[in-house]
């Protein structure tokens, strides 16, 4: 019989506490803006925190409190921004869907090695000792970015370089934060042209470290003004360009995704051979055009000579 007393006491206290809580939650009910619930419904619900708030509900509260005047949800992109604007009754902010891009094409065959990583094989550890590659800025290929990716969009392929699958990438930016050497960048999803190099070292150092490094030669900027060279590395800032402008690069670091996927451009030998052929063909054509332009001047000189 005595076993019943503790059971009763414990149950009693539990029931009393439960009933009291239920009762007081009614008495002290605080009505919340109904828009918060509606906003939370249309947000991605990944609770990734890329917006700077502690989860999607917190972000919804922030949206309501500031009446939409907070940075847009980087995961939801344009579609979510439109829905948010509709609920809040404000104008749509100008947002573009973003995806991550690993700015390195330095596979094992192309990039010189500095050493071999022994011990825990992750980027965070390797970064403490310096990259196993001769290039300080290239992808180390241990795939820390892939482990934090919520959609498993990043894979390290045979060449030892991480590549982002732009179709799977939701643009949360977790990999950008994780990469200890800042090799990953967020780029607009609509951008078709990428400079796949991140080396801010001067040309001589870059060339010694990697066959496919950007040496900031400025040849691409002469072909298309959307290429910008800063800190010893070129970056494409527009949406797209003439694929032939990419052939200007002497080290083949510029990929035009209308022609080749980033993955194929880095990993596939066929795509590379294809690219080489096209580049040679284009160079020949350019040479021929230049040759054709020159004789046009000669007859004029010849005519003045006598």
């Amino acid at each position: 019989m005595s076993i019943l007393i503790p059971i009763l006491v414990l149950t009693g206290v539990g029931v009393v506490a439960g009933v009291a809580l239920a009762y007081f939650s009614r008495v002290f009910y605080v009505p919340e803006d109904p828009r918060v619930d509606r906003l939370e419904e249309i947000l991605p619900g990944a609770n990734c925190g890329a917006c700077g708030f502690a989860g999607c509900r917190d972000y919804a509260k922030g949206l309501v409190a500031k009446n939409g005047d907070v940075p847009p949800c980087p995961v939801g992109g344009k579609a979510t921004a439109e829905k948010v604007a509709a609920i809040l009754g404000v104008a749509v902010a100008d947002v573009e869907d973003q995806v991550a891009l690993v700015r390195c094409a330095g596979t094992r065959e192309r990039a010189a090695a500095r050493g071999t990583m022994v011990g825990v094989r992750d980027c965070a550890g390797a970064a403490l000792l310096g990259s196993p590659k001769a290039c300080r800025f290239g992808c180390m290929g241990f795939g820390d970015c892939g482990t934090v990716c919520p959609t498993k969009a990043i894979t390290v392929y045979a060449g030892g370089v991480a590549v982002v699958d732009a179709d799977l990438c939701i643009g949360c930016g977790l990999c950008v934060a994780k990469c200890p050497i800042d090799c990953i960048q967020m780029v607009p999803k609509s951008r078709r042209v990428h400079v796949l190099c991140n080396s801010r070292d001067p040309a001589l150092v870059t060339r010694a470290a990697c066959k496919v490094g950007c040496i900031a030669c400025n040849l691409c900027t002469k072909k298309d003004a959307a290429f910008v060279v800063a800190s010893n590395v070129a970056t494409f800032t527009g949406a797209s360009c003439d694929p032939e402008a990419c052939y200007a690069c002497p080290n083949d670091v510029i990929v035009h995704t209308d022609r080749y996927g980033v993955l194929a451009f880095i990993e596939s030998a066929e795509a590379r051979a294809d690219y080489e052929a096209e580049k040679t063909e284009f160079k020949e054509k350019e040479k021929a055009a230049r040759a054709a332009a020159r004789p046009a001047r000669e007859p004029k000189n010849a005519g003045e000579q006598p």
């Binding site: 503790p6 006491v9 206290v13 506490a17 809580l21 502690a54």
Partner: protein
Amino acid sequence: MELLLLAINAMLIGNLILSKFLGICPFLGVSRRLSTALGMSMAVLFVMVLASTVTWTLFYSLLKPLHLEYLRTILFILVIASLVQLVEMVMQKLSPALYEALGIYLPLITTNCAILGVAIDSIEKGYGFLPMIVYSFFGACGFALALLLFAGIRERLETADMPQSFQGAASSLIVAGILSLAFMGFSGLVPG
């Protein structure tokens, strides 16, 4: 005089964090910034006194007469958890400003071992009502003191030039150890 000794003992000599290992989680977790540390300290102070009072009353009015002392732990957890929930609700209604200020820390300390530790400790030591209040209040003050000191140091460490292998958690734990070492010096304050 005895209460004064008890207060000093609870706050400095037997500091919850630095000599009893209680509440290490918020000590390391919310000490990145001084302002959040202050919020956490206030929340702990408030909940600790309230929880100790309620559990003490419950123990001496319900458990002791029924000889159910062994139900102490589970019952205290239950009571503290519901109490914090209740306080949160009341606060949200009556004082939204305070609710915002304490924020996430209030529900967090529901599961803080320092709260339960002090509640059980004051029963174990056989304190009366007044000593129990003093003990829990100054225990929380000691918690706040340690947390604020630690947060202040960590804020400065953030910008300090440090060898890479010491950065982050390693230096924080080393600092915690040194702080604990410093608090050991208080043990000579009260003879015996």
